[in-house]
């Protein structure tokens, strides 16, 4: 395969118009756009080929504005509705100018993506549920990046794997060259413009420890182990203005048996609203039935991150097992709560007491998982406000939970041309950023399904266009 050949070749040191650092969705969109504009493009991906494309390989859909239904979306999704959704999840922690730019530039993005090889999932014989706001990639994110890599390669983008952009040479906001480490050797690469699309730093445990201490050792990273944030730190060290709270991340409750990195979508658990969640002392700590799961699943990563040893256990009974998506790891089972506690290495008496107290507090109601029903607890702290049913039907099941980090919010500030902004308010001249490394400008908090890919695609295209324009004029 050609890639094997390239891996063994030395990286050419100069004469590039655009250097793209990163190999995920945003990087590929930037590389393709710049190449189509006539630029000579070098794309450097830190991961080996089989792990290429960072967290993009774990994605599954993209949200974009559109005025009418199509084969892959069931109805219109307007700028205002998109904006309102974004306001709701971020609580206003967004740059309105950039957010509205993202939304407008996302209009009919699906067509551009399809032109460059992405295939959408149609409704097969009407059995698949399609969404109104998000279009689904046929085969998921890895199929998408496979298509983009093929397109980029056929357009003439030069691609190297296992190549890390380390030190940048920047003078007066002008990028001069980058040191690239590949195969144990360092090469200085010069280019007329740089696109930084190398993701966040969630896989850099020592960096997370700066904010979280030893607790960070117990975090599971849902995506690529290569998002170590090297280029992000390099840009910040060169005076780029940070955006997003460095302590914050998007985290969900994961099965504690998940791989440390790269477990992706399958290790998530949807059982929490139907049971109770206890910490290592077998004590409950939060209302499991606060709201519908899609609206609450993203707070549970943070909640568990604050529990002792960052571990929790969701306890359900036999009647609940069909109510949530199948789990990748089998549940831990016990014929009684005591047996279950022993299997979980929890204090049996404490767990029995917690379950008993919960069961006593459960009020009679009409259970309905599709609405905010009236099954709730009375005089229990914390309460369970919906879907509370006594845990009495043997066998009892448990899933161990850990915080699973999806992405970090810290990034570099950009302007509407995707140019990286400096702390002193000036713009860099030829440094552009796209994707997770700048998503915090738009998404300062919370998450909206498929928005990461929207930001990556929109700003990837902007960064590619502007980088090419700078390089070619």
């Amino acid at each position: 395969m050609s890639s094997t050949v390239e891996r063994n070749c030395a990286i050419p040191s100069g004469d590039f118009d655009v250097l793209v650092a990163g190999g995920g969705n945003a990087a590929l969109c930037a590389a393709i756009t710049a190449r189509l504009a006539g630029a000579k493009v070098l794309l450097l991906e830190i991961a080996p080929e089989h792990l290429r494309a960072g967290n993009s390989r774990h994605t599954r859909n993209l949200r974009y504005m559109h005025n009418r239904a199509n084969d892959f979306l069931t109805g219109a999704y307007s700028e205002e509705e998109f904006w309102n959704d974004l306001m709701r999840v971020t609580g206003g922690e967004t740059n309105e100018e950039l957010a509205r730019l993202t939304i407008r530039e996302s209009e009919d993005l699906g067509e551009w993506m399809a032109e460059h090889g992405v295939r959408w999932q149609p409704s097969l014989r009407g059995t698949l549920q399609l969404s109104r706001t998000n279009a689904f990639f046929l085969g998921g994110g890895k199929a998408l990046v496979n298509a983009y890599y093929k397109t980029a390669r056929s357009l003439g983008v030069e691609i190297f794997y296992e190549s890390e952009v380390c030190d940048l040479s920047i003078q007066d906001g002008v990028f001069q060259s980058a040191m690239v480490r590949s195969n144990g050797t360092s090469t200085e690469v010069t280019a007329k413009a740089l696109v930084a699309a190398s993701g966040g730093f969630e896989a850099n445990i020592p960096w997370l420890k700066e904010y979280w201490g030893e607790a960070a050792e117990n975090f599971i990273i849902r995506g690529t182990p290569y998002n170590r944030g090297g280029l992000l730190r390099e840009l910040l060290d060169h005076g780029a203005r940070p955006v997003g709270n460095p302590r914050e991340f998007h985290a969900i409750a994961l099965d504690a048996r998940a791989p440390k990195f790269d477990g992706g979508i399958v290790t998530r658990l949807d059982c929490i609203p139907f049971g109770i969640v206890v910490d290592k002392h077998a004590q409950r700590f939060y209302d499991e039935g606060e709201d519908f799961w899609p609206k609450r699943y993203a707070i549970w990563g943070g909640l568990i991150a604050h529990q002792p040893d960052q571990i929790a256990y969701c306890i359900v009974d036999a009647k609940c097992m069909e109510l949530f998506l199948p789990s990748v790891f089998p549940p831990i089972e016990g014929g009684s709560i005591r047996e279950l506690a022993v299997a979980l290495k929890l204090d049996p008496a404490a767990l029995e007491e917690t379950v008993l107290a919960f069961n006593r507090a459960v009020q009679v109601g009409t259970f309905d998982p599709s609405s905010l029903d009236d099954c709730q607890t009375n005089q229990l702290d914390p309460p369970k406000t919906h879907w509370a049913r006594a845990i009495v039907d043997s066998p009892f099941y448990a899933y161990p939970l850990r915080p699973g980090i999806t992405f970090t919010y810290l990034g570099v500030s950009v302007g509407e041309r995707a140019q990286v902004l400096l702390k002193d308010g000036r713009s860099t001249k030829n440094i552009f950023a796209a994707g997770e490394i700048m998503a915090g400008n738009i998404l300062g908090r919370g998450y909206l399904a498929g928005l990461g890919m929207t930001i990556g695609t929109v700003f990837g295209r902007i960064a590619g266009r502007e980088a090419a324009r700078h390089a070619l004029t």
């Binding site: 998921g140 992706g264 199948p326 990748v328």
Partner: protein, 375 residues
């Protein structure tokens, strides 16, 4: 019974896939998987035979090897399909034939060719075998019609019964009650899926075959083989009816229906089998099972030889070589029919049965959706 390791592996993969579901749009396997939460032996046998080995799910998978989850559905399912063919065959004592297909097919065919030549030499003598024969009944001057027809009919009937037994065993094992399974609508849907090779479209752009690139080549070559085979079958049927009902005895003129059908079918088979063999030689071995590959290659080579000897017989039927070519062709055809139920041809039966089962499940699901109303 498939080996417990293979069942465990396929079950492990389905548990991962069912928590992911990114591949729902590629084929029927993943929607069928989503109708289940746990995977019994029967479920896994059914799902594996519903898989057309398009491999889209492997290259799209973020958990494919070398990821620690090591998700490789095409390989695990190919292994289970080999187990299926040998498990459901009759008599069970012959199930080992599927494990050594190149040997089975090669030896059987060689023996058949040798036997036909030997019998012809013994009973007709070299003067008949090596002489030119012209005009009506020329073939039967070399090999008597009764011998040809009786042996061929017996073999076909035997093959049909073995495959039917497999079909019934499979449906009974995977689909619950047989009465439920005999549904005209399901058979029609399954036939549409089968004749169109719908699930080799991989959701539109084709299979990832022989490598990561999407391509329709495999589907088109398979169409050539399948429809070429059907044309040859049609040629034989037409010829038989000429013989029985019109008393018109072979060989037939070049522009007669049996010769035209047979020639077109034969050429399609030649192109299709060579194309598929070529793709298989280049295919990603990480995604395939060794025994399945042997089944494929043995059957394709045999089809190629059947077609080649048939076309050579047509080309040289007016020369002294005809007798030898006829004996060789009949020997190869005998090898084909004898090994048909014990080789890759068996996939026709189990795929079709799985498609029927899938059609039934889809209809039941659609019925439930309607009953649920809002959902």
């Amino acid at each position: 019974m498939p080996s417990p390791e293979r069942l465990n592996e396929a079950g492990r993969l389905m548990q991962i896939c069912n928590a992911c579901r990114y591949c729902s749009g590629y084929c029927a396997v993943f929607p069928a998987m989503e109708r289940r939460r746990t995977f019994t032996k029967q479920d896994l046998v059914y799902l594996s035979n519903l898989c057309f080995d398009c491999r889209a799910c492997l290259y799209a998978c973020q958990y494919a090897p070398p990821h620690e989850f090591g998700v490789n559905v095409p390989k695990a399912f190919a292994e289970l399909r080999v187990d299926t063919y040998s498990d459901y065959t009759w008599p069970r004592i012959l199930s080992g034939l599927f494990r050594h297909s190149r040997l089975t097919v090669g030896l059987t065919t060689a023996l058949c060719v040798a036997l036909v030549l030997l019998l012809t030499l013994t009973f007709q003598g070299p003067s008949v075998l090596f002489a030119a024969h012209l005009g009506s009944g020329a073939f039967y001057a070399v090999v008597p019609f009764a011998a040809m027809a009786l042996v061929a009919s017996a073999m076909m009937l035997y093959g049909f019964l073995v495959l039917l037994a497999g079909f019934v065993n499979f449906l009974r094992d995977t689909g619950g009650r047989l009465r439920e399974v005999i549904s005209p609508a399901a058979f029609v849907r399954a036939a549409q899926d089968a004749f169109g090779l719908v699930y080799m479209k991989g959701g539109g752009a084709g299979c990832n075959y022989p490598d990561e690139e999407f391509s329709h080549k495999r589907r088109w070559y398979h169409h050539l083989v399948f429809y070429g085979f059907l044309l040859d079958l049609a040629a034989t049927t037409v010829a038989a009816s000429y013989h029985h009902f019109l008393d018109w005895v072979a060989p037939y003129p070049i522009w007669s229906a049996p010769v035209v059908l047979g020639t077109v079918g034969g050429v399609m088979l030649l192109i299709g089998t060579v194309g598929l063999l070529f793709l298989k030689a280049r295919s990603d071995k990480e995604a395939s099972d060794r025994q399945m590959l042997d089944l494929d290659v043995a059957f394709l080579v045999l089809l190629f030889l059947t077609s080649l000897t048939g076309l050579l017989l047509l080309a040289f039927r007016e020369t002294p070589a005809m007798g030898t070519l006829l004996a060789v062709h009949l020997g190869v055809v005998a090898g084909l029919f004898l090994t048909l139920p014990y080789g890759k041809f068996a996939h026709v039966v189990y795929r079709y049965a799985a498609l029927v089962q899938n059609a039934i499940e889809e209809r039941q699901e659609a019925g439930q959706d309607t009953a649920d109303g809002s959902s």
